[in-house]
């Protein structure tokens, strides 16, 4: 009889223990999955209008929106255009064109890129992604492939 009682207790403990443990495990799994953001298909156009002809003087630049990310449109002193991703390859800051230095600069950790987007000093490990520039009528288009 005594033995029977103990094993009944053990049975209950095992049952409740397993049940609680499984419940806990399931909840933790769900919570962890919940915190991981689902992939939202990003509306990333392959081409955008970055500026209008005549908007930029030679030797200046502007930041334009390429989908959700910033791009940098540059007008060289000779009047031609170049476009890059404005996202610094070091740690994600937004770069700018410095007319006083006549090249591209990232303020976060003093990273420098030349007018081809190539990293020339400071921490950036790679060149900026390069975009293509097409002028159609009054508008300056920038496209993904450089």
């Amino acid at each position: 009889m005594e033995k029977d009682k103990v094993s009944r207790r053990q049975f209950l403990n095992a049952l409740l223990g397993t049940g609680l443990f499984a419940g806990l495990l399931g909840s933790v799994y769900a919570a962890v999955r919940y915190v991981i953001p689902p992939d939202v298909p990003e509306a990333s156009p392959s081409m955008v209008v970055a500026a209008r002809v005549g908007e930029l003087n030679p030797g200046t630049a502007k930041i334009f929106r390429f989908g959700a990310k910033p791009g940098l449109l540059l007008r060289l002193p000779d009047g031609s255009y170049r476009a890059f991703s404005a996202i610094c390859t070091h740690l994600d800051c937004t770069v700018q064109y410095r007319s006083d230095m006549a090249h591209i600069w990232c303020a976060c950790h003093d990273g420098h890129y030349d007018l081809n987007g190539v990293n020339i000093s400071g921490p950036p490990p790679r060149p900026l992604d390069k975009f293509g520039v097409i002028i159609k009528g009054e508008e300056i288009f920038v496209s993904r492939e450089g």
């Binding site: 915190v35 953001p37 910033p70 740690l91 994600d92 800051c93 937004t94 990232c106 921490p123």
Partner: protein, 365 residues
Amino acid sequence: MKREPVWVRILDWLNDRLQSNKLSELARKKLVPVHKHSFWYLFGGMALFLFLIQVVTGSLLLIYYRSGPESAFESVKFLVSEVPFGWLVRSVHSWSANLMIAILFVHMFSTFLLKSYRKPRELTWITGVLLLFVSMGMGFTGYLLPWNELAFFATKVGTQIAGVLPFLGDFVMKVLRGGDDVTGATLTRFFGFHVFILPAVLALLLGLHVYLVQLHGMSKPPDVERREEKTGKPCPSVPFFPNFIYRDLIAWIFVLVVLVGLAVLAAWELGVRADPLAPAPAGIMPEWYFVFMFQTLKMFPAHVGPFEGEQLAIVGFILAGLFWMFVPFLDRSSPEGARGKLFTVLGICAIAYIGVMTLVSYLVG
């Protein structure tokens, strides 16, 4: 029969129900050793005080704060410029956050050097280290909430650094940001973590930590123990209540004066609204308590053998954090309470490292 005044009867009635005299008896019986290092016993209490201030001022901020990239900056601006004492509440919250973390560092290093982590206080130490980590998380998440330019780019950089982590990097970065970039989704999740999830974790840890401190009483540093052994006389002590509480109160008032002084004389800046399409401004810095890690990353060589320098540095910091947390089990002199010189030296090196790296970063820029 003479009747007691009303307020005495109310107190008696409450005492009957709450049995609060039992608590105060306990507090009277609890003894705090008095010796030349007793000063450091005050810092835990100061950190607790500042946490309470954070809860109160944080709850007040919640009344006007509106999370969201279109409303966060505007709501804080309204708060500091239109709401009576709004600037004060925000300034106190920000200053108190920084003071709290500074005091936690002092508290942690002083208990480390006094070897308070020895048996039976291993769990007190571990919960303490976790409290510092969670508080730094509170600082990191709170920093972004006003959605200003400096915080926006500092958060970009900070979360991007997490992305350098080997194997898990992309995943961790995405979970922190709530997507691939720092956007409104990041702000929403930082808000949730800052005002509920982390405070709840912090409160639980704090409860456990304080409970353990009450349970085990204050530890005596090794040199005090040695003197007790040599002279055969126990080190003098005072009751926690009321004697030690008065010292705590003096420390709290001191903290309050410093805090309000700073908050009024150096009101916390709001800066410029974050604009994801504007170039990063100069002077992007993490908050000061992350600076030593940041500076290390900067000074690390780009490549060390087959590894990327930054990855190596991050893994190094994670290992150092784990090592620090498990010190009670690694300091082999600790169970016997003997004199583990090695760990004293390690502690001093850690303080020197953090201090020098932080200074270098601010001086060299």
